[in-house]
Amino acid sequence: MSLRNLMRGPVTHAYGRGASRAAWVRWHDMGWHTLLVGLMLVGVGLLFLYEMALADELQNRAGIRFGSHVKKLMVASPGLVLGLLARPSWLRRHAWALYAASIALLVAVALFGDERNNARRWIETPVFDVQPSEFAKLALILVLARVLHRRRLARASEWLAPGLCLALPMALVTLQPDLGTAMTMVPVALGMCYLAGARGTLLVSILLVGAGLGLGAWQGQIGVKDYQLERIDTWYESIAAPALIDGKQGPGFHAYHARLAPGNGGLFGTGLGQGIANETGILPERESDSVFAVIAEESGFVGGVAVLLLFGLLVLLLMAGAAEVRDRFVRLVVGGVAIYFAAHVFVHVAVNLGLLPMTGLTLPLISTGGSSLLVSLLALGLAVGLSANQEPSLDSDAFRRY
């Protein structure tokens, strides 16, 4: 069977009759520049993962394997293509089903997931371990776009559906427990609500109330687990460098090394593979949750800012693409993906720089991790593809300017 025939089946099923020719795909309207920026970030990830793997090999450590990252990337790449080819109407039609599937996966992981370090977050597969919470984020974007497609959030009753859509995956992810990932869903949801028409002052109020509740929970130690409290305490006590250095042997170990690496990099960095993180291998999760620390160390402030600007550019391009879309559902999906990238990058970098408490979150497109790569490439593909593959829409937003 040829590759063409192999592709035809699933695409036909997914996107409807005639999908094999992908007639709705407007290749000339595709945001290639956005895609290029995304692929550059993937390239950055490949480069640094290669150096990490090389360092581990040189030091004879059983750690990061570049081949494994490439394999995950190969598995995740079709996600990008699928995203590019996705048909908006099909997505809109099946948003609930996809959401339900992601919820089912979250339930499945709670029941059958692989427990590591007292958390059930993964389902083992032969290729890589699937992390359903990653898929849930994308499904949340789709379902929120579907829900907000016809709601402008002007009335209180219109908040119920999106609220429930957010609450369910958040609750399941929190139970894993993975509060960090759960919390990243909030900015995505709020951002999409804002794009859907919610008043900014209301959203700011929600944020403030949430922050207040969080502060109360922290101070009152209500509904927060010990280890979470410890992380928050550690973060609070170690925002300043000397305090973090003094507590480096305790719970602040990860935070210390995550800050030490970029701090050591200085303006121009230590050079590829020459950073302390790679040399010692002591920085935990440097290939995933702390990959930015390695990038900032080895490429310096200049390189760190460059990567941040690339992400900024990616988000800006996605936002720009979304702003030009007439289809409200598509606009919300593309805007949601942009916020998803922005939120992930912000939390990941802020955690490594000590602006937020330590939590495990990958850097989209760069960190290794099968689920992370697959979802971020799929999201990128969807955003770029949907921006181009607009279908005729005569909904009420079609002629509004955003």
Partner: protein, 1085 residues
């Protein structure tokens, strides 16, 4: 387009977030770069000293006496043992099951049974256990628990971990097993069955494999114990276990308890801010609720009680043996640096009650800051009282002054002056006040005879006694004052230690008051039980716990300092069976030259070494601190590098050796080298040369070659240890020959000491009627512990000087006749050995016969003490022999003083008579005699040498001219040849045909004390019979007589019968030894 209504604000918000991230990145990467770069550099910077090798000490042929050799020690890391050794796994799994500490002894007794109980349990049983349900294993029943909370969960987690270890599965196999566990029916199978399944074995086979593994692990430990030759108490673990195995397991258990104790101390200190040893254990347990601690470490209450008591014991021991001495040393150093002594003392004592620095960094900061004691706040523990307990505020002020340094009167009294207000003296800290002045007096009175020290009963008494001490010391300084009365104190240090104890007692009493008083005030003392610590304190401990457990249990502890080669091979070859045990290479000072009894040859001469003392290490704290601060700099200047090298050269390592006695002490400066220093900026594993940022080559110490000859030394040692009394000798002191005490010296006439042996070489029990010298094994060649006159061997020197300077002629005759008043022959107060006297006697015959009357009259020729001392000086009897020349003399001491009574008055006629015969007025060591006889033999007085070469540099010989005419010397030499040929030494084995060479010599004996009746009875001497005196006896000589090359001196201590003959026999025995015979055959240089 982008500036649309909705996307615009969102982009602005995201842009702000991006700016925030970039700003933070700037702060971390640019502004804090120096901080983090230094941290990073220190993370991979591995700096270490490269210890030098101390020089070896060898004999003149190059045979090594002592050298630094490679050795090993066995290190024990409890964490590895617990996690990887079946015994550790079983003990800890059992502890997790039963929720109390199970000892390694118990685990060893039941290893196989308990291990199989665990691996034959099922995952579902563990799940139920975790959920709080009852657990029933083959030999273990645990009831259900109503509220298991997190503790059961953590215990279940531990059990899974240890079961994993016991099953001996690879990582992949364990993952496969966990995967298999996802199938519900698999959870009903035992762990053993599951393991067998993933390994594709039958359960029976797997069981057999595990049984063999458990058996092997115990067998290996037994083998290790046997090889270590650990001898234990009676009884064993089982009938098949050896005693040594039990001792080894007990040792491991002690290490384990030590690790657990240290973890608990760490967590307690973290939560309370002070060491638990500061409190009496009863107060500790009754005042503070420590259940949290017991739960965290896995203890039951009896174990907690043990910990409290043991911790107190260890803390007190450290307090007395380390903390207080260190404080006193620091005070002394500070007072030498110009701080008023009392100021320094109070400052250091108050520091003992100040908060202990938490980190090395803080320690350095505190040291460099040298905080003023007046600025210190509340002492430790008291500063924690207000929020020590949950919901209770204790009043530290109510307890009063907890340490004297808080007393405003003391603060005011010492302000800027060392003058202490008199009104303070009767107070309980009067002692401390007075001590401050002691430091300024700067006197050494440690040499005085001392009495056992008793602490004063109270403060007033203390003040009086300290004042007494002050008066005595002022008096000894030479100022006017009343007659001196020696104080009762053993020494200053003990008194100061007692003062520190006063401070501690006051501190603890006040702390007790604060804890108990406050609780009592709340009506909670009786029956209320201990109080819970504040929640935030418990949180501190909780945060610390994982790190403390990992850190404390990962520290290597020395299990054995010098295992044999077999043990080292065993541990290396079967590494997997000895998880937790490792071999650490090190250097060890090894005495290689051993005699047949395993004793080091020339042990006392070669000397001893010690590690760096506390005072030395504390004295270098400043240097260490400077070195640490330079090493923490990320970038160093050239000046810094120079300073590093200088500091490294100065700073002693803790285990660095310092010579304390013998050659080790004498030549310490040569034997020592200079440490190297290596600092890598990369990981050690890479070990690439270019990654080394600082490398200072070590310089090994110089080898010292002695003049001693190993064979001659061994022969001399053997003779002095086992002298032989010929069977045909009628004058027999067999008791002495069975318990000999004495010395033999063999040297060249150029002063090279070839052998210097002393007996006994090993202390013996007190030898009855003798003077007890056999209890002491020490060098008698350079030292004299007792009255040690030379007797008749002094006569040749007296004669030579008199011939040359005092007009004595060889032909001069002196009378030796019976003295009517004494009814015996002699002159003046000196009796002669000849019953009826020698009649008129000349020099040659006087030497042959050792006529005392002759030499008493020669003594008269000297006329006064001055002339006599001039002669003694000429032959070197008033000064060291020269072995310490060119050295600082540290560690090597010679007894060379002229007895003090000869200095205090002029000589009477009796003194001259005695002096002429070498009696009473002059003493000498064997080496002094050897030098003098070398002078007689060669005409020049050599400086004696023990060191032949340092490194490649020979130590040159040096001489002093005797300034005696050759004729005078030759006359005496002739006399000495006659002594051996026909005189007092003849017929006792020293004839040329017996020795193989001609020997010239002189016998001598000196009365030391009258014989008691019991002593005479021991020697079978009838009452009133001869001899009446106990004596030391000597023989000195040179050979070959015609052309002297060597000198020999024999000294026998406290001999009774046959004194003058015994030394001749011993000399003959030595000179006939093959080593001496070979020496004589050596061609002359």
């Amino acid at each position: 387009m982008v500036a649309g209504r909705r996307f615009g604000p969102l982009i602005v918000v995201l842009g702000c977030a991006l700016v925030l991230l970039i700003a933070r990145l700037w702060q971390v990467q640019i502004e804090e770069h120096e901080i983090w770069a230094r941290e990073a550099a220190n993370l991979v910077r591995s700096a270490s000293h490269v210890p030098y090798l101390r020089g070896s000490i060898s004999d003149r042929q190059g045979t090594i006496f002592v050298e630094d050799s490679e050795a090993s020690s066995i290190q024990f890391i409890y964490r590895d043992f617990r996690r990887e050794h079946p015994l550790g796994q079983v003990a800890h799994a059992r502890s997790a099951l039963s929720n109390h500490s199970v000892s390694l002894e118990q685990a060893a007794l039941h290893l196989e049974i308990w291990a199989f109980e665990l691996v034959e349990s099922t995952p579902v049983e563990l799940d139920r256990f975790e959920a709080g349900e009852a657990l029933s294993l083959a030999g273990f029943d645990l009831p259900a628990e109503a509220a298991p909370k997190a503790r059961r969960r953590s215990r279940a987690g531990d059990l899974r971990f240890y079961i994993h270890g016991l099953l001996d599965l690879s990582r992949a196999e364990w993952r496969a097993l966990l995967k298999r566990l996802k199938q519900a029916e698999a959870r009903q199978l035992s762990w053993l069955q599951l393991a067998a399944e993933v390994q594709e074995l039958s359960p029976t086979h797997k069981r057999a494999l595990l049984a063999r593994r458990f058996d092997t692990c115990l067998g290996r430990l037994e083998q290790l114990a046997r090889e270590l030759e650990v001898v234990g108490r009676d009884g064993g673990l089982s009938s098949s276990s050896s005693m040594s195995f039990r001792v080894l397991i007990e040792a491991l258990e002690r290490k384990r308890r030590g690790v657990e104790d240290a973890i608990a101390v760490d967590l307690f200190r973290r939560s309370t801010g002070f060491h638990p040893g500061r409190l009496d254990p009863n107060l500790l347990l009754s005042a503070i609720d420590l259940e949290w601690l017991a739960a965290r470490v896995g203890w039951d209450l009896p174990r907690l009680d043990d910990w409290a008591r043991e911790t107190r014991r260890v803390w007190l021991s450290n307090w007395r043996s380390f903390h207080v001495p260190a404080a006193l040393i620091r005070a002394d150093l500070r007072s030498k640096a110009g701080v008023l002594p009392l100021e320094a003392l109070v400052g250091e004592l108050s520091a003992l009650f100040a908060r202990r620095p938490e980190s090395e960094r803080e320690r350095h900061a505190l040291f460099l800051a040298a905080a003023d004691w007046r600025e210190r706040g509340l002492p430790l523990a008291f500063s924690e009282l207000d929020d020590l307990f949950e919901g209770v505020t204790l009043d530290s002020a109510a307890a009063g002054i907890s340490v004297p340094s808080q007393d405003p009167r003391l603060r005011a009294g010492l302000d800027g002056s060392d003058a202490v207000p008199a009104s303070l003296l009767p107070m309980e800290f009067a002692a401390q006040v007075a001590i401050g002045r002691l430091g300024a007096a700067n006197l050494d009175w440690r040499g005085a005879e001392i009495k056992p020290w008793r602490p004063p009963a109270d403060g007033v008494q203390a003040a009086l006694r300290v004042q007494n001490l002050l008066v005595w010391r002022r008096g000894s300084q030479g100022s006017q004052g009343q007659p001196l009365q020696r104080p009762d104190y053993r020494d200053e240090e003990e008194l100061l230690t007692w003062v520190a104890e006063l401070w501690r007692a006051q501190f603890e009493a006040r702390l007790r008051t604060a804890l108990q008083g406050s609780l009592a005030g709340r009506g909670e003392l009786d029956g209320a039980g201990p109080r819970e610590l504040a929640a935030w304190r418990l949180k501190l401990a909780r945060k610390r716990a994982d790190y403390a457990i990992r850190d404390r249990s990962s520290r290597p502890e020395e299990l054995h300092s010098s295992p044999g080669e077999a043990v080292v091979n065993l541990l290396i070859r079967f590494q997997s069976d000895y998880a937790g045990f490792s071999i650490l290479p090190r250097t060890q000072r090894m005495k290689l030259a051993l005699d047949a009894e395993g004793e080091a040859v020339a042990r006392d001469l070669v000397g001893t070494v010690r590690h760096s003392s506390l005072a030395e290490l504390i004295g270098q704290e400043g240097g260490r601190s400077s070195l640490a601060s330079i090493m923490h700099q990320r970038v160093r200047s050239a000046a810094d590098r120079v300073q590093v090298e200088a500091l490294v050269a100065q700073i002693y390592l803790n285990d660095e050796l310092h010579g304390t006695s013998g050659i080790e002490g004498l030549c310490d400066s040569a034997l020592r080298g200079v440490h190297g220093f290596i600092e890598g900026i990369g990981l050690q594993e890479r070990a690439e040369a270019e990654r080394v940022s600082l490398y200072k080559q070590k310089i090994d110490g110089l080898d010292v070659q002695l003049t001693l000859d190993m064979d001659l030394q061994a022969a001399a040692q053997q003779v002095i240890e086992q002298p032989i009394l010929p069977a045909d000798e009628t004058w027999r002191d067999e008791q002495w020959f069975e318990n000999p005490v004495g010395a033999i010296v063999l040297a060249t006439v150029e002063g090279e000491i070839l052998a210097a042996a002393s007996g006994p070489k090993r202390p013996h029990a007190a030898d009855g009627v003798r003077d007890g010298e056999r209890r002491f094994a020490y060098d008698r060649c350079f030292h004299r512990r007792r009255f040690q006159p030379m007797g008749s061997i002094f006569k040749p020197f007296v004669a030579a000087f008199a011939l040359d300077r005092l007009g004595l002629s060889e032909e001069s005759l002196f009378a030796c006749a019976v003295r009517p008043e004494e009814n015996s022959a002699g002159w003046g107060s000196v009796a002669c050995g000849a019953r009826w006297g020698h009649g008129g006697i000349g020099l040659q015959r006087a030497l042959e016969r050792s006529c005392n009357a002759y030499f008493a009259q020669v003594g008269e020729l000297y006329g006064d003490k001055q002339t006599f001392m001039e002669m003694a000086h000429m032959f070197g009897f008033d000064r060291p022999t020269g072995v310490t020349d060119a050295w600082d003399g540290r560690g090597f001491h010679e007894d060379t003083r002229i007895p003090s009574f000869t200095n205090s008055r002029g000589f009477t006629a009796r003194d001259l008579h005695l002096a002429g015969n070498g009696l009473q007025v002059l003493e000498a060591t064997p080496v002094q005699v050897a030098r003098a006889v070398a002078g007689l033999a060669s005409g020049r007085l050599p400086a004696m040498r023990l060191v032949r070469a340092i490194g490649n540099q020979p130590v040159p010989a040096s001489f002093e001219p005797l300034n005696l005419s050759p004729a005078s010397l030759e006359s005496v030499r002739r006399g000495m040849r006659a002594v051996v040929a026909v005189g007092s030494a003849s017929g006792r084995g020293l004839a040329p045909d017996e020795l193989g060479f001609e020997l010239a010599g002189k016998t001598g004996s000196a009365d030391t004390s009258p014989m008691s009746n019991s002593f005479r009875a021991q020697l079978n001497i009838p009452r009133g019979g001869s001899p009446e005196m106990r004596k030391h006896t000597w023989f000195m000589g040179f050979f070959p007589a015609a052309r002297p090359r060597f000198v020999v001196v024999v000294y026998l201590h406290d001999i009774g019968v046959g004194a003058s003959h015994s030394a001749v026999y011993v000399a003959g025995q030595f000179l006939k030894s093959p080593s001496v015979q070979a020496l004589v055959r050596e061609p002359a240089r």
